[in-house]
């Protein structure tokens, strides 16, 4: 399968820059994985902020709310500032550099990937592309006013050239590929 090749390449490249990469066959497994991650980390409902676009349907939200009562699917500056974990969907992924590409024109979708210490990005496996050039062929900047390319977590080497992960952006980037995004 073409996507296996692309996924493997993506995983190798993204992990080499400290991203964590997972792949699940459908949405339910992906949700279960994310919830298990939150439980393991002893996160409370107020510790994470899940920006829902089209990924979650009502029954998914109910399922999540049972485990984390009071979870907020709306993002605000306040909620994103407080959240330790931000969860959002990302539209594209570039295999040869391990990069996520996101139309971050909406303010909420931008801050949810910027402010929390952990960013969990959900991507459809079918949206994996080979390289930057093949992405730019499908896309025009007039349509996305803020296009964000994300390759691994935030990093710096400004003090004594020592690579340190997590400065102003997330210190962990967890990428969850989903083969079947349907219900």
């Amino acid at each position: 399968m073409v996507n296996d090749l692309l996924f493997n390449k993506f995983k190798e490249k993204a992990e080499s820059v400290n991203a964590e990469v997972y792949r699940f066959k459908d949405k339910h497994e992906a949700i279960k994985f994310i919830l298990a991650f939150l439980e393991e980390g002893n996160f409370k409902s107020s510790d994470f902020n899940w920006l829902n676009n089209s990924f979650l349907n009502d029954s998914d939200k109910r399922y999540i709310s049972e485990k984390f009562p009071g979870i907020n699917f709306e993002v605000s500056l306040q909620s994103a500032t407080q959240a330790k974990v931000g969860i959002s969907e990302i539209e594209w992924a570039i295999a040869n550099s391990g990069t996520l590409v996101h139309d971050a024109t909406s303010f909420d979708s931008r801050i949810i990937s910027m402010l929390p210490e952990v960013h969990i990005a959900i991507v459809s496996t079918s949206k994996l592309l080979e390289d930057l050039a093949s992405l730019l062929n499908r896309f025009h900047p007039q349509k996305a006013h803020y296009l964000a390319f994300i390759t691994g977590p935030s990093r710096t080497a400004d003090i004594e050239r020592v690579l340190t992960i997590g400065v102003h952006g997330p210190e962990r980037l967890i990428i969850v590929f989903v083969d079947d995004m349907g219900c």
Binding site: L77, F107, I111, M114, H140, S154, A157, E160, V167, H168
Partner: protein, 713 residues
């Protein structure tokens, strides 16, 4: 020859001395430079760098002459998406515009992400003076802002500070005792600056690319601070130099491919942000987006037939990272915002030519940066052009004038050398001058000098009997082989005799002119070039050979360039004939071996050797396989040294002008040679030989140093 020393001001010498004494800086830069080469290579694996930089330089070279048009197109398209675009001719105009926007909107707090253009126009002090709070948010920039320093490196601005120094700065800033633990320091920066982002009224960023077709700006970063600066405050000001403009959106692909790899040896940085027009704020209103396109002489530069090339720069700073001089002294010595090779050129244009008078001399002309520049800028050549223009503007110094009037007069120059061979006698011991008195003393502090030969090659050859073959080779000796190392010249002749050539030595040949040419004295170089070309062409020969790569480069390339640029096109046909016949020694020998006209002598006293690549041979003549193949063919085993093609620090008169820089570069070379455990180091250049042999003698290190002609002859 101390004329060179006098060309540099005392204050400049002091700043070099200060930088050389800063061990933190030297260690950090040195380690970075070593790691960079390896990591850069890895980042580019699987990519055809030559093709990539052809594409980038093509895009940028096409854009350079139409920066103004591109700016107007950018303005139209960005404004169609709600941005406001201001084209600033000068730093003043840019600063005033930004301050006006800030005042109109009652801005009190400004957050910035890294922007060299904002440093170029000294924006921070200007806004601070107007009563605003301005905070840099890139970690390195924030650190130097707290330290009140200038950036010491374009990409790594705080590389001159240790974690202990950073901890001290943070302790003062946050009023709590901060430990010198790097992850902890980074956490403190995150915590402290987070509130600053959230409370700022205005964000100021630079941009790496501006796309005319769409009015988009592209920002490349790792920390995520630029993302916050462009998102949280309701006003965003972008300050970007006109040279960042490209016509088409698709043009960003090669630049985005190269920039992270060349800048920080990353395949990709953590974030690229492409912003096209206004985006929503937290409250749903649209961002107040101002894009200031800064000219500040860039369009003048575009009109200059030679310097327009510098607009191909994508500001990766790889010319700093690979520069043997920059890695020793860092950026502060450059005294301006832009540092290193490209910085020297930009300083001359963005400020004034006079500003680069001292710093242009720092370039040792090794050419390492030229090979790795993703914009394909011939930085060493542009620096030479600065030299030429400085000389035109100011005229040569008295000492320089005297020196060149001597070398221009071959008979006088040679007479002085002959006299010197007698005067030097009291200082010569075991074939070296190890100490010189008084103001000459610095010349022999770190390396011994060879004495001038009693009998120069030109005199020895009057008595040298050669077989008379039909085929002839003209030998261009150059000053060092003629007057200092005549025995190398004799070896060259013996080898060529063995291959069935009679070697002709035109007595009218003189200095190749490189010292004059490389210090900007084109007219002096022209006269020497003309004399040499005529002398060579007076004799009929199949080949012209030189055993000095610098002389070879002169004969093969520099003379043609010189005749073209000094308006002596009448000399071009002759120069081209000479160029087409000219070979460096190793290349000619390799040809003769391939033709089975020559078999090199088999090994005599050494089995293992190491080979030093001379700058002009490797990077101007692209010869590095040939000498190795010759040595291997002769049965030697080559133990490759680390950084074999790194400059030895000689650089002609550079080592007289900056012995304090030449010395540590040599030191590094000697260490790399020693580490191979080879007892013989071979090279093709008599200049490198002078430097390396003198260095080992000074250390009483029993490592043999030989020119390749002496090894195989």
């Amino acid at each position: 020859m101390i004329w060179g020393v006098k060309m540099v001001t005392a204050a400049f010498k002091q700043s070099i001395e200060k930088a050389l004494k800063n061990l933190t800086l030297r260690t950090a830069l040195g380690k970075f430079a070593e790691a960079y080469i390896v990591a850069r290579e890895k980042a580019y694996s699987g990519i055809n760098f030559e093709q990539l930089r052809d594409r980038i330089s093509e895009i940028k070279a096409d854009s350079a002459p139409k920066l103004k048009e591109l700016a107007l197109e950018f303005k139209k398209n960005a404004e169609a998406n709600g941005a406001k675009v201001f084209i600033a001719n000068s730093p003043d105009e840019a600063r005033e515009y930004i301050l006006k926007v800030a005042k109109q909107r009652g801005v009190k707090k400004v957050v910035k992400s890294k922007s060299m253009a904002s440093e170029e126009i000294h924006l921070n002090p200007y806004l601070l003076e107007a009563g605003m709070e301005v905070r840099e948010t890139d970690l390195g920039e924030w650190i130097i802002q707290l330290a009140k320093h200038r950036p010491s490196h374009m990409v790594l601005p705080a590389i001159h500070l240790t974690k202990e120094e950073v901890a001290e700065l943070f302790t003062k800033e946050v009023n709590e005792k901060v430990k010198s633990d790097i992850p902890q320091l980074v956490k403190i920066a995150r915590r402290e600056l987070r509130n600053v982002f959230l409370s700022a009224d205005m964000g100021i960023t630079g941009a790496n690319i501006a796309v005319a077709e769409t009015g988009s700006i592209v920002i490349i970063e790792n920390e995520g601070n630029a993302r916050l600066v462009t998102t949280l405050p309701k006003i965003h000001v972008v300050l970007v130099g006109l040279e960042k403009l490209v016509p088409y959106f698709s043009n960003i692909v090669p630049i985005l491919t190269a920039l992270p790899k060349s800048a920080t040896a990353q395949i990709c940085t953590s974030y690229f942000s492409i912003i096209t027009g206004q985006t929503p704020n937290v409250d749903g209103t649209l961002k107040d987006l101002h894009i200031v396109l800064l000219d500040n002489k860039r369009t003048d530069m575009a009109k200059d037939p030679i310097f327009k090339e510098a607009l191909q720069c994508i500001r990766c700073a790889s010319c700093l990272n690979v520069c043997p001089v920059f890695c020793l002294i860092g950026g502060h010595v450059f005294g301006s915002i832009y540092t290193g090779g490209i910085g020297t050129i930009l300083t001359a244009w963005f400020e004034e030519l006079k500003k680069c008078e001292d710093i242009q001399g720092l370039c040792i002309q090794c050419g390492r940066c030229r090979d790795l520049c993703p914009g394909k800028i011939n930085i060493p050549e542009l620096i030479l052009e600065l030299r030429r223009r400085l000389e035109k503007e100011k005229g040569p110094s008295f000492l320089q004038k005297t020196f060149f009037s001597i070398i221009k007069n071959r008979r006088l120059f040679h007479q002085i050398l002959r006299n010197a061979s007698k005067v030097q006698k009291p200082f010569v011991k075991e074939g070296f001058i190890r100490h010189l008195p008084m103001f000459f003393s610095s010349l022999t502090e770190y390396r011994s000098l060879p004495p001038i030969s009693d009998t120069p090659l030109r005199d020895r050859l009057l008595r040298f009997v050669q077989p008379d073959f039909d085929e002839k080779v003209v030998f261009f000796a150059g000053c060092l082989i003629d007057f200092v190392y005549p025995e190398i010249g004799e070896s060259v002749i013996k080898v060529l005799n063995k291959a069935g050539f009679t070697v002709l030595f035109p007595q009218e040949q003189g200095c190749c002119g490189a010292p004059a040419n490389y210090s900007g004295s084109s007219e002096v170089a022209y006269e020497l070039a003309k004399e040499n070309i005529e002398a060579i062409l007076r004799l009929k020969a199949k080949y012209v050979v030189s055993a000095c790569p610098t002389c070879t480069t002169s004969l093969k390339y520099d003379y043609i360039f010189l005749f073209k640029t000094t308006g002596h096109e009448d000399m071009l046909p002759k120069a081209e004939i000479v160029a087409s016949k000219t070979y460096d020694f190793s290349s000619l020998i390799k040809v003769l071996i391939n033709q089975q006209r020559l078999e090199p002598e088999k090994i005599r006293d050494f089995k293992e050797v190491t080979y030093h690549d001379s700058c002009h041979l490797k990077r101007r003549l692209h010869v590095y396989r040939e000498p190795r193949e010759i040595l291997e063919g002769a049965g030697y085993e080559i133990l490759e040294m680390y950084e074999a093609d790194m400059c030895c620090g000689m650089g002609g008169y550079y080592s007289l002008k900056f012995p304090e820089i030449s010395s540590p570069i040599l030191e590094r070379k000697l260490r790399n040679i020693k580490n191979t455990n080879a007892k013989l180091v071979v090279m093709d250049c008599p200049g490198c030989l002078l430097q390396i042999r003198g260095g080992f003698d000074k250390k009483s290190e029993p490592i043999e140093t030989r020119h390749i002609a002496e090894v195989i002859g």
